[in-house]
């Protein structure tokens, strides 16, 4: 479960990104986080894996206040969270297999287990036959699917996605969203930041709307 309690975030330059944000996303549920560019969606997502720390308020994961975590525990927190960015952020010198395997390597998974999990993740995103390819040999849509496979390969409890369909055409964007609903059906808690309102209206999923750093529940 992800819970925000009266969270505010002001950057050192004085810019307030979030103000008094409170919400609760139960474990195994999925929600869209929408709002205009600059509304604070990325900041809100960054607070969950402690990429940023809240200026005020508390962020809880499964009831534990992650603001109280010592620095050395943060990598372990991040291992429970799969991150999907708008930019796939793949390493050019590694092939698809090795890019997807990275989260398992940092957790010292044995070679056989790594190979099994990577192939299962690539199978889920339909790229099993491209494991030897380099990122630069892939289309934008394929790169984003590698990004998704990397986020789910370590079987995280939570997946956070920041504009995951921003660079995809509408058909591919719809397929990607459908893939996310499948992960959610398997029990993964998902929070997806997007401003593609026409796309998210096609899914019956709760929406959190950010406007000028304040959170509203979508009544639509």
């Amino acid at each position: 479960m992800i819970e925000f309690i009266q969270v505010g975030k002001t950057y050192p330059n004085g810019q307030t990104a979030l103000e008094n944000v409170s919400f609760r996303l139960p474990a195994g549920r999925m929600a869209f986080l929408t709002g205009l560019s600059g509304a604070g969606k990325s900041t809100l997502l960054k607070l969950i894996p402690q990429i940023e720390r809240p200026s005020v308020g508390r962020v809880l994961i499964n009831g534990a206040d992650i603001g109280r975590l010592p620095g050395w525990r943060i990598p372990h927190l991040r291992r429970r969270i799969g991150l999907i960015f708008q930019n796939p952020n793949l390493l050019d010198e590694l092939n698809v297999f090795d890019n997807v395997a990275l989260p398992l390597r940092v957790q010292h998974y044995p070679r056989e287990e790594t190979a099994r999990r990577v192939r299962a993740a690539l199978d889920k995103v339909g790229l099993l036959d491209r494991e030897k390819a380099r990122p630069q040999e892939l289309s934008g849509g394929e790169q984003q699917r590698v990004n998704i496979a990397r986020a789910l390969v370590a079987k995280p409890a939570i997946i956070l996605a920041d504009e995951p369909t921003g660079n995809l055409d509408p058909a591919l964007a719809f397929d990607t969203m459908r893939l996310f609903t499948q992960f959610n059906a398997a029990g993964v808690t998902m929070l997806i930041a997007t401003h593609a309102t026409s796309l998210i209206r096609q899914f019956d999923i709760p929406r959190l709307v950010l406007h000028d750093g304040r959170l509203y529940m979508d009544s639509d």
């Binding site: 960054k46 894996p49 990429i51 940023e52 050395w72 990598p75 372990h76 927190l77 991040r78 291992r79 991150l83 952020n89 390493l91 990275l102 989260p103 390597r105 940092v106 957790q107 010292h108 998974y109 044995p110 070679r111 287990e113 990397r150």
Partner: protein
């Protein structure tokens, strides 16, 4: 042990194996990355080597000199008695005879002025110059060894007081003075090496920092997916060790070449000096010390960089 405990133990064992495997991967990764920039890596090693070559050459030479003096002690020392130039051959023979009967003296050996001149010409390649001399300026010298080393000083004083004798000298005194100088020189050289260590650490640290700046995107991604600082730093530590080890190896090679050159120059001038070499224990100290310094520099540079560049 319960089943879950056994599974957990097995899991820890397997993870430990994977952790060890990551060390192997980190070593290969470090070698690959150093190999990708051979010129930069070589230059870093050369800077280390250039800094270490002079002190290592000095240490090797001083060590060689100390080894050469090892046989010189009061136990084995000779007493050299220089006779006055105007002493006749018969007086010299009489003195020799009395010395041979002295119960304190073991061996006695006379070096005539002619023999002295021949030895001088042979050992210093001064043949041409010495032939130009109209008169032989060398005195007769009696070399003697006491039966008991503890009587050496008393014997010297007793012989120096005789009217035929110009002076009497124990040859180990000069060796003792030289030994003291060598000891001081070794201490100063080691101090110099210690002072050089931070400079060498900065060289390695700078190379590591440049490598990290080239890999900023990769490092940030690793931080985001849960890599610990130790995981990110591991290949850098191996790279630091390689740079430190490579630099030290090169410096030992350069020091060897410098010492060989010194010996050649000495031979050309007729000085047959002992080949100075560092003992294997010194090599076993220098190589790990160079690697350890590289590891320490990489650890510091990596830590500072990771602290300043947390994932955003």
């Amino acid at each position: 042990m319960s089943k879950s405990q056994a599974q957990r133990g097995h899991s820890h064992g397997v993870r430990f194996g994977a952790w060890l495997a990551h060390h192997g991967e980190s070593l290969r990764d470090a070698l690959r990355r150093l190999g990708q920039r051979p010129l930069g890596s070589l230059l870093s090693m050369l800077v280390i080597a250039a800094s270490l070559t002079i002190p290592i050459t000095l240490l090797a030479t001083l060590h060689g000199a100390r080894e050469g003096l090892a046989g010189w002690s009061s136990e084995t020392a000779l007493l050299q008695v220089f006779l006055k130039p105007d002493i006749s051959a018969s007086d010299t023979e009489a003195l020799l005879a009395s010395l041979r009967q002295d119960p304190d003296i073991g061996e006695v050996h006379l070096i005539t002025p002619e023999e002295g001149l021949t030895q001088l010409a042979r050992s210093h390649a001064l043949d041409g110059l010495l032939q130009e001399l109209k008169n032989n300026p060398l005195p007769s010298v009696i070399e003697l060894r006491p039966r008991d080393a503890s009587t050496l000083t008393g014997l010297r004083d007793r012989l120096a007081a005789r009217q035929e004798v110009g002076s009497a000298r124990m040859d180990y005194e000069a060796a003792e003075r030289l030994r003291t100088l060598i000891h001081a020189g070794e201490g100063l050289t080691l101090l110099f090496l210690l002072l050089l260590a931070p400079a060498l650490a900065i060289t390695v640290g700078n190379t590591i920092r440049l490598e990290l700046e080239r890999r900023t995107r990769e490092v940030r991604l690793l931080q985001l997916i849960g890599a610990t600082p130790a995981f990110i730093r591991r290949p850098l530590l191996y790279a630091g060790a390689m740079l430190g080890l490579g630099g030290t190896l090169l410096s030992l090679l350069f020091a060897g070449l410098a010492v060989n050159h010194l010996i050649q120059v000495a031979h050309e001038h007729g000085w047959h000096i002992v080949l100075p070499t560092l003992p294997p224990s010194a090599l076993l100290l220098f190589l790990p010390a160079g690697a350890a310094l590289g590891v320490l520099a990489a650890w510091l540079a990596g830590g500072l960089h990771l602290r300043a560049n947390r994932a955003r």
